[in-house]
């Protein structure tokens, strides 16, 4: 009964979306305040209905109601509660309900918190948001309905793909959706601004917190996904340039560009139409990711069950959403531009180069991801594009970006002083050179270590430059004052944290790429593998039982210079519902490096086991870096200028935000 109510709520939400997507837009066009006023209650009701539908679905999973097709296909009574809940979004239909729920929550948040928005801009933004919701609700109800019943109901369900039964993955999709869908707000604001025909610094200020929130969630979501792939797949890597990974990374790149270009609109009223385009493109790329993952036209290790019928529907949605918004852009963008010219050597000049590099990077990743598909379409032969392409094109774009990230914040708006910035960054440059030399001296002067030294130098440069910038802000003629440290706006701290997080991430990427060790051997009890000064000795293997699996668990003692460090117990789990094996790597971390062990098959005599030992230096830095970037987003989000009125902010904020001269 409850599930029918959920179904009904979603159908009602569709009707509400029709209202939300039409009346406020027409009202804004005709200056009819009563019609515009419909937007807010509609957005709130929409969120309540979608939230209720989602809750009924979750309830069906928790109580294992196998008369619901989705539950029967994806759940099982023996599954731990956490994975019954996460099973809701472990399949296509349920994940779409999560998608639409997140979308409606963002809509309601704009309705509730956007109190200082001009009435017509708000009505239009919520109207566009309603239209997006309309498209996806129709998609769910007509092609991917999770509320369908099964008669007769089976006694037991099929279970969730065991790879997905993992805490890392439990929260990866919701985070990712908060990011993807969060960019819908920026998209709606952009389309609304085009309809209004006005983009100004106030607009940029309203969009910024939403972009920041979406960016933060997407950063954490991608990080969680990478972390999961690292310890769950047992391949000892953390990024594979897989199409699905790329589908989340491309909007991250353009979203990062948007974050920075919106600052230029806010401070200088320049780059307006570019920023609008970025807002449209970022959400469009999120939609594109959804399409690619669910249509089956690209190959990936973690695609959803492909269904071309759904693919056609999403393709049509894509055409309407992206085509419509870009048509609007083509027609209206010439009207909103202005204020354009500025000096290349200035804060805004730096941000422009940042944008060029980030969007170029996004384009190259997109091209590599879509190339097999394009080649297929034009019958140029079947092929796949792998890591060598991505590394070869991506890294050269990131190097100047990182160097620039150190310099940019030290340049003033309008007319920056490049020499002055270099003067201030002498120490940072010296530290970078030291990092390079130290790396080469400690590890040897071959090409791998010189390249690694370059990576470490970049990271050191960025950290030192970010701290230098902070130091110049808090230091006056009277030295560093506590007053200035406290009064520095939170957005400044957010930037510093995010940039340092980026640097820490670079340390992780560099270290794990250059100095990773990989050993595979078949070990009998008492035999060992040596890696990076550790000796991993195989002791025994035994069978252990979990709630819904039986596992082969190996026991390995790890010693260093004869002293016991830890005992590692990697597992190979055999799930019965559905039948699948998963690898549970056992990882010993020092906080700066991981020792990663995986147990494989036994030989015929059942005495020797294939053991893989990876030494993964600096991998933990990846997670620290992601967390620091996310934290930077959060701190920046808490900045008071997002909470107080525009007029006061301009008076109070612009002086404080100027870099110290």
């Amino acid at each position: 009964m409850l599930i029918e109510l959920g179904h009904f709520a979603l159908a009602l939400a569709l009707l509400v979306a029709v209202v939300q997507g039409t009346l406020p837009l027409i009202g804004a066009h005709r200056r009819n305040t009563a019609w515009m006023a419909v937007a807010e209650p509609a957005a709130i009701v929409q969120a309540l209905l979608c939230g209720f539908a989602f809750a009924t679905l979750m309830h069906a999973y928790i109580v294992s109601d196998f008369s619901v097709i989705g539950v029967a296909n994806n759940s099982h009574t023996a599954k731990p509660l956490l994975y019954k809940i996460t099973g809701v979004w472990g399949n296509h239909e349920g994940s779409m309900v999560l998608w639409i729920t997140v979308l409606s929550l963002f809509g309601a948040a704009v309705a509730l918190f956007g109190t200082n928005l001009p009435r017509s801009l708000k009505a239009r933004t919520l109207g566009i948001q309603g239209l997006i919701g309309l498209g996806f609700l129709a998609f769910i109800l007509f092609t991917s309905n999770p509320f369908l019943r099964l008669n007769p109901a089976p006694a037991q369900g099929n279970g969730l793909n065991p790879l997905l039964q993992d805490p890392g993955l439990a929260f990866h999709p919701p985070m990712l959706y908060l990011g993807y869908v969060g960019f819908s707000v920026a998209f709606s604001f952009a389309a609304a601004a085009l309809l209004e025909g006005r983009v100004d610094s106030a607009w940029a200020r309203w969009v910024r917190p939403w972009t920041l929130a979406a960016w933060m969630f997407l950063t954490l979501g991608i990080g969680l996904g990478s972390w999961w792939a690292y310890y769950e797949l047992g391949w000892g890597g953390w990024w594979f340039w897989d199409p699905v990974e790329n589908a989340s990374f491309i909007p991250w790149l353009t979203g990062t560009a948007l974050l920075h270009s919106a600052i230029v609109v806010e401070r200088r009223e320049a780059l307006k139409s570019w920023t609008i385009l970025l807002a449209i493109v970022t959400f469009s790329l999120s939609l594109l990711g959804t399409f690619l993952v669910r249509s089956g036209i690209l190959t990936s290790v973690h695609a959803f069950a492909a269904d071309p019928a759904r693919g056609v529907f999403v393709l049509i949605l894509l055409a309407i959403a992206i085509g419509g918004s870009l048509t609007l852009y083509a027609v209206r963008a010439p009207a909103v531009d202005g204020g354009g010219v500025f000096s290349p050597i200035s804060r805004e000049g730096g941000l422009l180069i940042n944008n060029l590099l980030l969007t170029t990077a996004a384009t190259t990743v997109l091209l590599g991801t879509l190339y097999p598909l394009i080649a297929d379409a034009f019958e140029l032969g079947k092929l796949s594009v792998g890591a060598p392409y991505f590394n070869a094109v991506f890294v050269p774009l990131m190097v100047p970006l990182v160097i620039l990230t150190g310099i940019g914040p030290l340049l003033a708006w309008k007319r920056g002083d490049l020499n002055g910035a270099f003067q201030r960054l002498k120490a940072a440059a010296a530290i970078a050179v030291l990092a390079l030399l130290a790396t080469v001296v400690l590890n040897g002067g071959d090409i791998v270590n010189i390249a690694a030294g370059g990576g470490m130098a970049l990271a050191a440069w960025l950290i030192a430059a970010a701290l230098t910038e902070w130091l110049y802000r808090v230091r006056g003629t009277d030295g560093i004052s506590w007053q200035r440290i406290v009064n520095l706006p939170r957005s400044a701290y957010g930037m510093t944290l995010a940039h340092i997080g980026m640097a820490v991430l670079i340390i992780g990427v560099t270290g794990s790429t250059a100095w990773k060790e990989e050993h595979i051997e078949s070990l009998k009890p008492g035999e060992y593998i040596e890696a990076a000064g550790y000796r991993v000795t195989f002791v025994t293997a035994k069978e252990v039982r979990g709630p819904n699996y039986v596992a082969l668990q190996g026991e390995y003692t790890v010693t260093r210079n004869g002293e016991l460090v830890t005992t590692l117990r990697p597992e190979k789990r055999n799930f019965s519902q559905p039948v699948q094996q998963t690898t549970e790597a056992a990882i010993h971390t020092t906080g700066l490096a991981d020792l990663y062990t995986v147990i494989g098959d036994a030989d015929a005599a059942n005495t020797a086991f294939v053991t893989r030992v990876f030494y993964e230096p600096f991998v933990p830095c990846l997670w620290y870096g992601v967390l620091l970037m996310g934290l930077g987003g959060l701190v920046s989000l808490s900045d008071r200028r997002h909470r107080i009125g525009a007029a006061r902010r301009i008076a109070a904020g612009s002086a404080a935000l100027q870099p110290a001269e």
Partner: protein
Amino acid sequence: MVIPLIIVAALLAVFGKRLADVSGGDDPRVVPTVLLNTPFPAMDLAALPGREFGGLSTADLKGQVSLVNVWGSWCVACMVEHPTLVALNREKLVPIHGIAWRDKPEASLAWLAKNGDPYARVGQDPRSSAAIALGVTGAPETFVVDAEGVIRYKHIGPITPEVWKTKLAPLIAQLRK
């Protein structure tokens, strides 16, 4: 200002075409072997002890069109395709050579004794050297080799009567002309 729109329209057209192809049965997961139309890689694999026809070397593949089937006694899907191979051999449709991949000779022999032995020559590949040279991604995989010893096709997965009828038989007939 219209450039993004044009790019997107082109992309959407490509997506639409691919979607139609995929619905029409074109599987994007199938990447054909890069060895297509190249000579079968050089190898000289030891025989299974006691078998009549001996091991498999590249030279053995010259002279007539043949199939080279990569299998293992540990491989479940090989069990699925095996009756088809036995039937092909019974009707003398094409010579089939086997590569026993990552297997113990006793296990391979026992498996053939139990399930029937459709193979002409069988070479052992305990250390995957042949499998790597052939770019094998999993068992079973079957190569169609022409009379000149050149690889003309690779089939991934079990050979079913359907696969034989629609893909392999027409190709072999054409190669024999």
